[in-house]
């Protein structure tokens, strides 16, 4: 080939170089300012939570009766006492550093969010894909069961579950996850129903791939878009449920903490010590905001026809 022809071929290749749908979606996602900001803020909160012991010199359970319910040094309003250097968010009613406690609360809340979502993801995807793939009577039966569970006042069941497990914190992940998988199953089933009409599934079946193989190798990868969107919207939901339970005194026990516990404590002392309510509430609201922005961004990125 002459150099000119080579150059022409390269140009052509570049012009027609396939961009996968995922690359397209990623580009669209990164053009969305709200989603990018959300990812950045969430990243910072996650890093702070992970490295909480190294960020502050105070221990999350270090009680100091010299600085009980003290405002941070920079607090512009009147306060009974100032907490002193290092206590950026002030201290709580037994003199523990609030900043480090907010970060430890972030650990718990985020961990519950991710683990419970993972549980719901596994159950929901397998259940929904199976029902959608089999169709017919199996589908009708399985989705009928989902409908019944849907009509349960599920928060009551979470509360009864918490009582049943005697407030075992690790089982709370499972309990919440086991309750929030229903919508996931519905979404996956709907996607599967439409995906299984496609030619490539027929080809796989003709080639003798087992039903399990078709579900895990062909159907699940192709229904992943809406699922990813729903996952990012489930995490904040779960964080809310956890904080809700903690607020009612059914969640994590002292000296460990979560945002729900901190907010609950803060609500009790808000007249004398508003910082105890404001900072945990701010962190939690910001995190939930981020997840929602990322979810919306993902939806727009993965489903461009909605634009």
């Amino acid at each position: 080939m002459t150099p000119a022809a080579t150059r022409k071929a390269e140009t052509l290749e570049r012009a027609f170089a396939g961009r996968s749908l995922w690359a397209d979606a990623r580009a669209r996602l990164f053009r969305n300012k709200a989603a990018v900001t959300g990812m950045a803020v969430l990243g910072v909160v996650t890093l702070l939570a992970l490295f909480a012991p190294f960020v502050s010199r105070f221990a999350y359970d270090g009680i100091d009766y010299n600085v009980v319910t003290c405002a941070p040094d920079w607090w512009p309003f009147e306060a009974a006492c100032k907490a002193g250097p290092g206590h950026w968010f002030g201290t709580d009613t037994v003199g523990r550093d609030l900043f480090v406690r907010v970060l430890y609360g972030a650990r718990v809340s985020l961990a519950v969010g991710f683990v419970a979502t993972l549980v719901s993801l596994v159950i929901g995807v397998l259940y929904g894909a199976t029902a959608g793939y089999w169709g017919g009577r199996v589908d009708a039966l399985m989705m009928r069961a989902v409908d019944i569970l849907y009509s349960l006042p599920f928060i009551f069941f979470v509360i009864i579950l918490m009582v049943m497990f005697d407030r075992n914190f690790y089982l709370m992940f499972v309990a919440i996850g086991a309750v929030v998988w229903l919508t996931m199953a519905r979404i996956v089933r709907g996607q599967t129903l439409s995906a299984k009409q496609k030619e490539y599934i027929e080809a796989a079946r003709a080639a003798g791939v087992s039903p399990f193989g078709i579900i895990t190798r062909h159907i699940i990868p192709n229904v992943v878009g809406p699922v990813v969107v729903y996952v990012t919207l489930t995490v904040p939901d779960v964080i809310l449920i956890e904080s809700f339970l903690s607020f009612l005194g059914l969640g994590i026990q002292e000296p460990l903490t979560s945002w729900g516990v901190l907010i609950s404590d803060g609500a009790n002392t808000m007249e004398s010590a508003p910082w105890m309510l404001i900072f945990p509430a701010l962190f939690m609201a910001a995190t939930l905001f981020c997840f929602n922005f990322i979810g919306d961004g993902l939806r727009d990125a993965l489903d461009p026809k909605d634009h």
């Binding site: 009509s151 928060i155 009551f156 009864i160």
Partner: protein
């Protein structure tokens, strides 16, 4: 239509039966019992107390007795609130919770729909962005944060708005005086206002792009007529199917709101009862709420069928 209603009614019975069964056995699987704090009782008296409530019998027998009484409409006595039956307690608490919930629902629907329509008509303008930002706040800031904040603003500090002084009571029920209801109702409806506004905006935008709206505009109908008579009706359809989840959301919120504002509704009973192992009261409240949700899902489906002729109820 009547056939469909009957079918749905009988379809709901197994659902309720499963709810009762699951709740019954889950509650019994929880460690501890209703008379644990009274451990000091001499063993023979404790035995008598348990025998009086049939708690000494095997679990399956107790389940059978419970179902038999339930079928006769008897929810049993409360274990912890002496001298009260569960039905009496629900009779006292439910009207309070219902009043709160219905007011919150009405506020959420009227305000949420108006905001959503407004945002849709001004899509991608500042009105749209501000409504959606506020809605995002409503969704992400949980009830138990808004409740103390609003209490602080309107109850403790007594904020002045437009020359009016807001000095609302921060708790208590006072027989349902409106001043006592303002804060609980507002707090309860905030997340629902936000969700409904988002839903309405989304479906309204979609409807406004459809062909029949273009036709209506082309016929020369006024903007008001197009929006109110043609677009709104179709845009409200997704909202109807949200009715069931909305009620569930309000019920969940009422657990918190009743706790914070000291409202004597049934949400407050439930948590106390679950912690005290007041088996019959827990069951009573669960059955009550489940029936409510089943009923509202049913009503939502019926309204859907009435509004959308394409949906055939069968």
């Amino acid at each position: 239509m009547i056939g469909y209603a009957l079918k749905r009614f009988f379809g709901a019975l197994p659902t309720l039966f499963i709810i009762v069964t699951v709740a019954f056995f889950m509650m019994r699987a929880a460690p501890g019992g209703p008379f644990d704090s009274a451990r000091k009782l001499p063993p023979e008296i404790e035995r008598n107390v348990k025998a009086a409530y049939n708690l000494d019998k095997p679990l399956l027998v107790q389940y059978g007795i419970y179902l038999e009484r339930l079928a006769q409409g008897d929810l049993g006595p409360s274990f912890k609130n002496k001298d009260f039956t569960v039905a009496q307690l629900i009779g006292i608490g439910l009207p309070v919770s219902m009043r709160l919930g219905l007011l919150a629902m009405a506020l959420a629907i009227s305000l949420g729909v108006s905001l959503g329509v407004w945002a849709a008509l001004r899509q991608n303008q500042w009105q749209d962005y501000s409504v959606m930002t506020v809605a995002m706040f409503g969704i992400t800031v949980p009830t138990f944060v808004t409740a103390p904040l609003l209490t602080l603003l309107f109850g403790v500090y007594g904020v002045h708005i437009f020359g009016l002084e807001f000095n609302l009571p921060v708790g208590g029920w006072n027989g349902g005086a409106w001043r006592n209801m303002v804060l609980p109702v507002v707090v309860l409806s905030l997340p629902q206002i936000a969700i409904i506004a988002r839903l309405t905006r989304g479906s309204m935008i979609e409807v406004l792009r459809s062909n029949y709206i273009r036709t209506a505009k082309a016929k020369g109908l006024s903007a008001n007529a197009v929006v109110l008579r043609h677009a709104l009706r179709a845009a409200l359809l997704p909202l109807v199917s949200y009715l069931g989840p909305a009620v569930a959301g309000i019920l969940t919120g009422s657990l918190i709101v009743e706790q914070i504002f000291g409202v004597p509704g049934i949400g407050r009973y439930f948590i106390q009862a679950a912690l005290n192992r007041d088996y019959t009261l827990v069951m009573g409240v669960v059955i009550c709420y489940a029936a409510l949700i089943v009923l509202l899902n049913f009503i939502a489906d019926m309204i859907y069928g009435l509004l959308d002729p394409r949906v055939r109820l069968s």
